[in-house]
């Protein structure tokens, strides 16, 4: 099926919201793909980081929001350090996670860590992952 590109306020609203939350100009991206080339988790992703930003540019909100990629980002900032246009992709990812349905399911919640594992894990890992992936 052909993807119909929207115009007008709805599309603009989504893009503007991402830009406002992330503080990044997503239109600065010229799709060189360097973020994806260096991403340690890219092989696990259904959409590469540069594809996420491309879909944001096109205003394809639903496709972005349902991508698994959002929960595969380790916030290692390799993409940020390599981007020739100075876009912090980790911020764009965070902005997309921010606008996910607040009533939706946690991508990764406290229930998924067994008490045995919790005993062994460094505190910071739990604080980090719930901050990133839970509501």
């Amino acid at each position: 099926m052909r993807v119909k590109l929207k115009a007008g306020r709805d599309k603009r609203k989504f893009i503007e919201r991402i830009e406002e939350l992330s503080g990044e100009n997503v239109f600065a991206c010229y799709q060189c793909g360097r973020c994806s080339a260096g991403c340690p988790m890219a092989s696990e992703m259904d959409l590469l980081p540069n594809q996420i930003i491309r879909l944001v540019q096109m205003g394809l909100e639903e496709e972005v929001l349902r991508s698994k990629t959002l929960f595969l980002c380790a916030s290692c900032f390799t993409c940020e350090s390599r981007c020739p246009k100075g876009i912090d992709m980790a911020r764009v990812m965070e902005a997309v996670r921010h606008i996910l349905d607040p009533k939706g399911k946690d991508a990764f919640g406290p229930g998924e860590i067994s008490p045995e594992l919790a005993k062994e894990l460094p505190q910071q890992v739990m604080v980090s992952i719930f901050r990133k992936f839970a509501k």
Partner: protein
């Protein structure tokens, strides 16, 4: 002398080896580490969206406390704490709106006088007065690597060791300003200063898998394997870290890694502070080597334990 030190939650609970060896090493350099009164968890993640201002409250409250106690520098060792404190501090320095909003939120904190138990409110605004440094930066710039060299009493005799930076120390460079993200050397220079031979290997700034360790263990296993393998291929006899999470992924995960990747036969993982403490003559018992999954004793016994200098 006294120096403010923010250990962070992991060091107080799980990874005491990093905390204890750091304190012991610093004591040998005549520096007593003091924790700011009533510090809390930094939040582990610096808030990456413009609207999550509340995530700045915890780190800024701690930094303000350092200032209230007369400190102008605070050091940390954990890469996550370092990242959050340093970035939050910079945000407060650079962004007037964030500064205003965070201070408005924190102004009415209650302060209890430890002696009189009198409760007061009304803190002066925090404007980023405290300098956040990683202990490595402090060692390099304030103590000075040459001075550390002078204080060394045990010699690693050129033991080849890999410095592992991981993600948070270096990036984003504009905020962390720790070192060049693609050709860092502060950690290697440290290792050389304490008598090791720093090994150059291409994965020193690659990610270990970080918190995906719990949600996507296989990916973290692979990421950590690649780091360890690269260090080992370059001739390292041990790999050093500054972060408890890197330590968890590289050390605790090694049994799983070895089972998944048969070409890998194991590599001891050390904290930089253990290396420093031992070189400065701290008793091996105080290095917390019992917390390691991969036995690390060999690193410290391969070299003669006799003191090379009194």
């Amino acid at each position: 002398m006294k120096l403010h030190y923010y250990p962070g939650c992991t060091l107080k609970q799980k990874t005491t080896a990093l905390d204890i060896s750091t304190r012991e090493a610093m004591r040998r350099l005549d520096i007593e580490l003091v924790e700011p009164e009533g510090w809390t968890c930094c939040g582990a993640e610096y808030p990456l969206t413009e609207e999550k201002i509340v995530g700045l409250a915890a780190p800024i409250r701690t930094l303000r406390q350092v200032r209230e106690e007369g400190g102008d520098v605070v050091v940390t060792t954990c890469s996550f704490c370092y990242s959050v404190l340093k970035r939050a501090n910079k945000a407060i320095q650079d962004d007037p709106l964030k500064r205003k909003r965070v201070n408005a939120y924190l102004r009415d904190d209650i302060q209890i006088d430890p002696l009189t138990k009198e409760r007061t409110t009304g803190f002066a605004d925090y404007n980023g007065e405290v300098k956040v440094l990683h202990l490595l930066e402090y060692l390099r710039d304030t103590v000075g690597y040459p001075r550390i060299r002078e204080r060394i009493t045990r010699d690693f005799r050129g033991l080849p060791v890999a410095a592992y930076y991981g993600c948070r120390l270096l990036r984003p460079q504009k905020e962390m300003a720790f070192d060049e993200p693609d050709s860092p050397h502060i950690f290697e220079d440290f290792l050389e200063a304490v008598g090791c031979a720093a090994v150059d290997y291409p994965f020193k700034q690659e990610c270990c898998g970080s918190y995906l360790s719990v949600s996507l263990p296989d990916a973290a296993t692979e990421a950590s394997y690649r780091v360890l393998r690269s260090a080992k291929m370059s001739g390292a006899k041990a790999i050093t870290v500054t972060c408890p999470l890197c330590f968890y992924n590289l050390d605790h995960r090694q049994e799983v890694i070895k089972a998944a990747y048969l070409d890998f036969s194991g590599l001891p993982v050390l904290f930089f502070s253990q290396i420093l403490a031992w070189a400065l003559g701290v008793d091996k018992k105080l290095l917390g080597l019992g917390e390691h999954t991969v036995p690390a004793d060999s690193v410290f016994s391969e070299t003669p334990a006799t003191e090379v200098r009194s």
